[in-house]
């Protein structure tokens, strides 16, 4: 088994998808010659040529609109938004068209577009480069929203996303790009829509996705060591579809749940999980579902991001609040 980074797994997934289906094309700012600012498309222009890997003009709405047009021509475009904060100019095309096209056509027109977006913070970046916009996409019916936390899932979920006839917002946790995992590619993990119980536990369930899965796992480890309790950890893997069956089963088992995410709390994924689980596991919960999240503020300057983002200590502190309920 090889040690593979998430960046490498994504790169391989794109390569394998392009080899498997010559209608798969990549487009975006700097994805060609440069191989993307995070090198996720590294080497693909050289091997597949300019008609499969397109360096576009600097225009995100155009990148998305052109992708929709390519899909109408029978392509399976994989546009890249260079950073989370630069996906916003594409929002109108995404909300008004990408998400609605199939429905508008009474199901006749598939929209197999996978919009890759590196997202999240903790990389010491300047403003607009550390956003967590998943709630905006998750609230937009018609989209799927997928986010891997490991190299293996990165590979498998990206392949599945490209094979999907529904549009997928594929959120790549950039702080995890260089984290390694033992895995042989190609690899096939659970389908989109299935959460994974990464760690079994009996006292409380930690729910996380993307960049926060590692933090949740570390917190569970620490909780075990420090005798705080036995924590179950769930990696959502996809936010839409949300695997509420797995969430509810776990909450029913442990009776306590903490949802962890980087995005601001207000109207974030934690709210949706809390609302659902509180309804479906009402008689099982021994404490309310708590949220350990970013503050309801614009992303702060890098030297303050650590305080803004949930870390192991704040997760444990929230776990303790739940246990004390």
């Amino acid at each position: 088994m090889a040690q593979i980074t998430m960046a490498r797994a994504l790169n391989t997934a794109l390569r394998d998808a392009m080899e498997a289906d010559d209608r798969v094309v990549l487009l975006g700012e700097d994805v060609g010659t440069l191989g993307g600012v995070f090198r996720i498309t590294d080497g693909l222009l050289k091997d597949f040529g300019e008609q499969r890997v397109m360096d576009t003009p600097l225009a995100e709405s155009a990148i998305m609109g052109v992708s929709i047009g390519l899909a109408l021509r029978g392509y399976r475009p994989v546009p890249e938004m260079q950073f989370d904060g630069f996906s916003y100019p594409a929002l109108d095309q995404i909300i008004s068209h990408l998400a609605k096209y199939r429905n508008r056509s009474a199901g006749t027109q598939p929209m197999p577009v996978v919009c890759r977006i590196p997202y999240g913070g903790a990389i010491g970046a300047v403003e607009h480069h550390s956003e967590s916009p998943e709630a905006i996409y998750g609230h937009t019916a018609g989209l799927k929203v997928v986010t891997p936390s490991s190299a293996a899932d990165a590979y498998s979920l990206l392949r599945q996303s490209i094979e999907s006839d529904d549009p997928v917002i594929f959120l790549e946790p950039k702080r995890r790009y260089w984290a390694k995992q033992e895995v042989d590619l190609p690899v096939s993990t659970e389908p989109i829509g299935k959460a994974r119980v990464l760690r079994e536990g009996s006292d409380l369930t930690l729910v996380a996705y993307g960049p926060m899965v590692k933090v949740a796992m570390d917190a569970a480890e620490a909780a075990q060591e420090e005798g705080v309790g036995s924590l179950e950890v769930i990696d959502l893997r996809s936010l839409v579809p949300l695997d509420d069956a797995t969430l509810v089963a776990s909450a029913a088992k442990t009776g306590r749940m903490v949802v962890v995410h980087e995005a601001p709390q207000f109207l974030g994924m934690g709210a949706e999980v809390a609302a659902r689980v509180s309804e479906a596991a009402f008689f099982h919960l021994e404490a309310p579902v708590l949220r350990c999240t970013g503050l309801d503020i614009p992303y702060p300057p890098a030297r303050l991001e650590e305080a803004h983002l949930p870390g192991v200590d704040r997760v444990l502190w929230t776990v303790q609040r739940s246990l004390d309920f």
Binding site: V25, Q51, T56, P57, A59, S61, A62, M64, G65, V66, S67, I68, G69, L70, A71, L72, R73, G74, Y75, P77, D92, Q93, S96, H97, K100, R102, N103, R104, S105, A106, G107, T108, Q109, P110, A141, G142, K144, S164, D165, D166, G193, V240, P241, L242, D243, D244, A245
Partner: protein
């Protein structure tokens, strides 16, 4: 920004055929007569749209009155395998390209569907309501077609107001860089709801193209032959690999913006009268008369066809069933989330009460 020298024209206001160095009429007599039929039928469909809205059969209607030449002339210049991206007022384009698929458009304005047709069937995308957005779809389609080595072009229809949207400029630039086989067809009907050209732009639309590095041409949009010729040339140019063209068709929206609009609030009857005198169908009929092609028999046939289509439109709309409840969820995803299906079951359970109760 009124009718200028640069404007391509093949028909004088009185229907005389004009000479033009670049653009010629090369249609058969039969085609010339058929063009007349299409113009008349499109106008009749539009009249029915207004009527049906007034009778409460449609929620709203966006009339194309006065723009028939721009729509019919341009749509007729295209091939079946070109791909058309209309805005919300292109009933004439739909009729020429897809015949009675225009009934789906009526369904859309009735609130029975969301356009509903299969864009691949007639190579005709659904109406795009968010202004200007479809221009980018056309560019994407065109780039894909070019990659495929297909000799087809994509055509994006939009209005004068749409040129102010960022998406349209992004489309111009993207198409220029990729020398994409696109025809940008702007119907400059002088108004964007209540906003006149002078508040929308500071120079003519067609010149916008030069700034992005590709050709633009202004055509008399009420001259169906000129529109046909200019569009055909731009489409051929695109299919030949020479890249995009922007066509600005100068025309006028003789009706209201939509049936909810009251244009007397913002424009003068003098202006309206001036443009009524320039409306495209009378001019074209005068041309046919001069060319000896117009006959009572032709007029009879054409009116009969218009009556037939109008009757079909009326009957279809009046008997159009409401969509089944399952249309709410059936087409959103190829592979719908379980959470949506659970919502749907809950809704069914809720609705079942009423069925039970009767």
């Amino acid at each position: 920004m009124d009718q200028t020298d640069e404007q391509v024209r093949l028909l004088g206001e009185d229907g005389t055929l004009l000479q033009h160095d670049t653009y010629k009429v090369d249609l058969t007599d039969e085609d010339l007569c058929d063009l007349y039929r299409q113009l008349v039928v499109v106008r009749r469909i539009d009249v029915e749209g207004n009527n049906l809205q007034r009778q409460g059969q449609l929620g709203i209607w966006a009339p194309c009155l006065g723009q028939e030449a721009a729509q019919v002339g341009s749509a007729r210049a295209l091939r079946p395998d070109d791909f058309v991206f209309p805005s919300y007022r292109e009933h004439g384009v739909v009729y020429v390209r897809a015949g009675m698929e225009v009934l789906s458009v009526l369904g859309l304005y009735r609130g029975a569907n969301l356009s509903g047709w299969d864009p691949q069937r007639h190579k005709l995308a659904q109406y795009s309501i968010p202004i200007g957005t479809q221009a980018l779809h056309a560019v994407g389609y065109a780039i894909g077609a070019k990659w495929d080595g297909a000799e087809v072009c994509a055509v994006a229809y939009f209005g004068d107001g749409a040129t102010s949207e960022g998406d349209v400029s992004e489309a111009f630039n993207f198409a220029a860089v990729h020398s994409a086989p696109v025809v940008f067809f702007c119907q400059n009907n002088q108004w964007a709801i209540s906003v006149p050209l002078a508040k929308q732009m500071a120079g003519p639309v067609y010149k916008r193209a030069f700034g992005f590095g590709f050709p633009g041409v202004q055509v008399d949009g009420n001259d169906v032959l000129a529109v046909y010729a200019v569009t055909r040339a731009a489409a051929e140019r695109a299919r030949d690999g020479a890249g995009p063209t922007l066509i600005e068709a100068i025309t006028y929206r003789l009706g209201a913006h939509t049936t909810t609009d009251d244009p007397t609030r913002y424009r003068t009857s003098d202006e309206l009268d001036m443009w009524k005198a320039r409306e495209p169908i009378g001019r074209y009929r005068a041309f046919l008369e001069r060319a000896g092609l117009w006959t009572e028999a032709l007029e009879g046939e054409v009116q009969a066809e218009a009556d037939r289509v109008a009757a079909e439109v009326r009957a279809t709309v009046e008997h159009m069933p409401d969509p089944p409840l399952s249309d709410l969820v059936d087409h959103v995803y190829a592979d719908p989330p379980a959470t949506l299906m659970a919502q749907w079951r809950q809704l069914e359970e809720f609705e079942a009460q009423f069925q039970a109760e009767g």
